[in-house]
């Protein structure tokens, strides 16, 4: 059966290999450039003592390659559409399942070999693309400290492998249930986007309980490469202050996220400022008044140390979903009359 699978997919495999080789060459060439640009920028800013604002002034790489790297977000969906969805649906549509399932090879073995090799191929492609992107983005991650942020997290590490396996499994299952290729492709595309969005928007930030750190109003808190979920100010009772959506008045502090508008302070602190802009005296009066009321800044975040734990959990979720989908496919195919 492995030989049959290879004969059926050698054209696709050649095309995929050629595309991967081209992508690898591009990433390697530009990646070396990015690394040397990063190295020389570090050397120059160390000499000029200006490394503090490097993140605002330095742009690594080119927009075109950077955009291509973001496009790898779509690789799993493409695998699901082109490899997964037709696997069974096209056999049904072309009537070739009647031939394939009346040979000496049992239907179960036929399905095991085909799905096994395709899922392996999907995992390999997802893994290679992710490895290249992860390596290419190394300097940019160091510069922007945003590897944990949504969008970056999704194209690096091991999660792309989980997405690829899930997308192909979804395609296979959709094809087994719908028995037609084009509807299966549509369902794969919509289902993949929907599941990714649900996991990202509603689940990922809750994989582990978020950490909240407090800091003085005029201070700040550097969480490094953490994934910041929210920031603001709390009163003495620990409840977040309700800040106006926008303000033109004077603000205190303002390091993580937004400053603390004077209009959000208790009445007596506002009275200490009066109307108009701060003077040094009124600024310190307002600051000590706010501190006396126990007002502190807070940041809620997932620490950078949890990056690989989150990668593992997210990959696990998608691999489990893929396993469930495969179980459905086997049940459907084994039950169906040839």
């Amino acid at each position: 059966m492995s030989w049959v699978t290879w004969r059926q997919y050698r054209a696709q495999a050649a095309i995929a290999a050629a595309l991967l080789a081209a992508f690898t060459a591009l990433i390697l060439v530009t990646g070396v450039q990015v690394a040397s640009q990063w190295h020389s920028a570090l050397t120059a800013c160390t000499a000029a003592h200006s490394c503090g604002n490097l993140a605002n002034t330095l742009f690594l790489g080119s927009h075109a390659v950077g955009f291509l790297v973001i496009l790898t977000l779509g690789v799993p969906a493409v695998l699901g559409i082109l490899l997964g969805a037709p696997l069974l649906a096209h056999e049904f549509e072309a009537g070739t399942s009647q031939y394939a399932w009346t040979q000496s090879v049992t239907r179960r073995r036929w399905l095991v070999a085909k799905t096994g090799w395709l899922l392996l191929a999907a995992a390999a492609i997802g893994g290679i693309v992710s490895a290249l992107v992860t390596w290419w983005s190394g300097p940019d991650n160091a510069l922007q400290a945003d590897a944990f942020k949504p969008g970056r997290f999704d194209i690096m590490g091991i999660v792309p492998v989980g997405y690829a396996v899930f997308a192909v499994a979804l395609g296979i299952t959709a094809g087994a249930l719908l028995r037609r290729t084009i509807p299966a492709i549509a369902v794969t595309l919509a289902g993949f986007i929907a599941v990714r969005m649900v996991v990202f928007f509603w689940l990922r930030s809750h994989f582990m309980a978020a950490v909240t750190s407090y800091f003085p109003i005029n201070g700040g808190f550097n969480a490094g490469s953490a994934w910041q979920l929210s920031a603001g100010y709390v009163g003495a009772n620990g409840q977040p202050l309700s800040l106006p959506q926008s303000t033109s008045g004077p603000v205190l502090g303002g390091v993580n996220g937004n400053g603390l508008p004077v209009t959000a302070l208790p009445g007596q602190c506002q009275a200490a400022v009066g109307n108009g802009p701060f003077t040094p005296a009124t600024y310190h009066a307002a600051l000590s008044c706010a501190q006396a009321h126990g007002i502190r800044g807070y940041v809620t975040y997932q620490p950078a140390s949890r990056y690989w734990a989150f990668q593992g959990i997210e990959t696990g979720i998608f691999v489990l979903l893929a396993a469930a989908l495969l179980a459905i496919t086997f049940a459907v195919v084994l039950r169906r009359d040839a």
């Binding site: 002034t57 330095l58 955009f67 559409i81 096209h90 549509e93 290729t181 928007f201 033109s248 937004n258």
Partner: protein, 328 residues
């Protein structure tokens, strides 16, 4: 023929209508919230530019991905409706039936492609109209409507993309005669053409404008929603340093280098003004290269025109192939 097209596509049409209605509802709800948020910021800031820049971003949550969705709608339409149009008829041999009726093959193809191209234009236009309206406050706040990414999801260009993707799908299906390879071609071809045109051609639809200014009189920002290519300073010998001043130090004359060395780290305006007057004295000029904001609609028109022409060429190829091919 129109009735046949309607019968064949009514399920797809109904699904598309339901999805578009759901999208419109989500966008309208979110859009009104953003608009009222933006209104309260405008009232609070009362024209103070620094205050506007300090405000947090307007959009977040699920609907903030709307522009990305807008980017993929054309290619999805081309893959699911365009590619199978001819290819699936040939694959399932229904072309034998369809092309041996009293309706001529040209008439059959003209009506089918006509309605599908119209549907693609309508879907693209509707999604674009929603995105354009929804993005209004964000454009006003960031001035980025002309920038790559935003330009591609607003105005009339999404209509051009959708028509092109549909035509590409139909032509690929007619050439490949099989749905799946045609779908792969649509996916690769659409992304490739879009990247080529937006990366290589779009910046040159019209010659970019470069404005020079005195470094000592402060910085120059192109007014309105301009598309800025580069900003920074250029020396009398043609050495260019991009704004942000990351590479400034090695490019400067030693006299001016010393001024940076003595300044406390990074570009505080107070410390940089001495450096700028030194640069001014040594023949440096500030510059900004950009496409001015008033060219937004000409650029939208040119880009849409390019894609419509490409679509027309692809439709012509399809007609040539289908008319030449034997029915059996």
């Amino acid at each position: 023929m129109t009735w046949v097209v309607w019968r064949q596509y009514r399920t797809q049409g109904a699904i598309a209508a339901v999805l578009l209605a759901a999208l419109a509802a989500a966008v309208l709800v979110d859009g009104f919230q953003i608009a009222s948020h933006w209104h309260s910021i405008l009232v609070a800031c009362a024209g103070n530019k620094a205050c506007l820049q300090q405000q947090p971003t307007l959009v977040n949550g699920v609907v903030s991905d709307l522009p990305y969705l807008c980017l993929i709608v054309p290619v999805v339409l081309g893959m699911l409706w365009g590619a199978p149009l001819v290819a699936h008829e040939l694959e399932s041999r229904t072309s034998d039936f369809a092309w041996s009726q009293s309706v001529t093959r040209t008439h059959w193809l003209a009506v089918k492609t006509g309605w599908l191209l119209l549907a693609a234009a309508a879907c693209g236009g509707l999604v674009s109209a929603l995105t354009t309206w929804w993005s209004g406050p964000v454009n006003a706040m960031t001035g980025g409507a002309f920038a790559p990414g935003q330009f591609d999801t607003q105005g009339v260009v999404p209509v051009g993309y959708a028509v092109f993707a549909m035509a590409l799908g139909i032509a690929a299906g007619a050439v490949a005669r099989r749905s799946l390879p045609a779908i792969a071609v649509v996916l690769g071809g659409f992304i490739g053409v879009r990247l080529l045109i937006s990366g290589l051609l779009r910046p040159h639809y019209m010659a970019a404008v470069t404005t020079y200014y005195h470094l000592t009189t402060g910085s120059f920002t192109p007014p309105g929603q301009a598309w800025v290519f580069s900003q920074g300073a250029v020396s009398s010998t043609g050495v260019v340093v991009a704004s942000g001043w990351g590479d400034l130090y090695p490019a400067l004359q030693p006299v001016c280098q010393r001024l940076i060395g003595s300044a406390p780290a990074s570009g505080k305006s107070g410390s940089m003004s001495a450096v700028f007057s030194c640069m001014q004295a040594h023949g440096w000029r500030g510059f900004a290269t950009y496409q001015p904001a008033y060219r937004y609609w000409p650029f939208q028109g040119i880009e849409t025109g390019i894609y419509l022409l490409l679509a027309a060429a692809l439709v012509a190829v399809t007609f040539a192939i289908v008319r030449r091919r034997d029915a059996l």
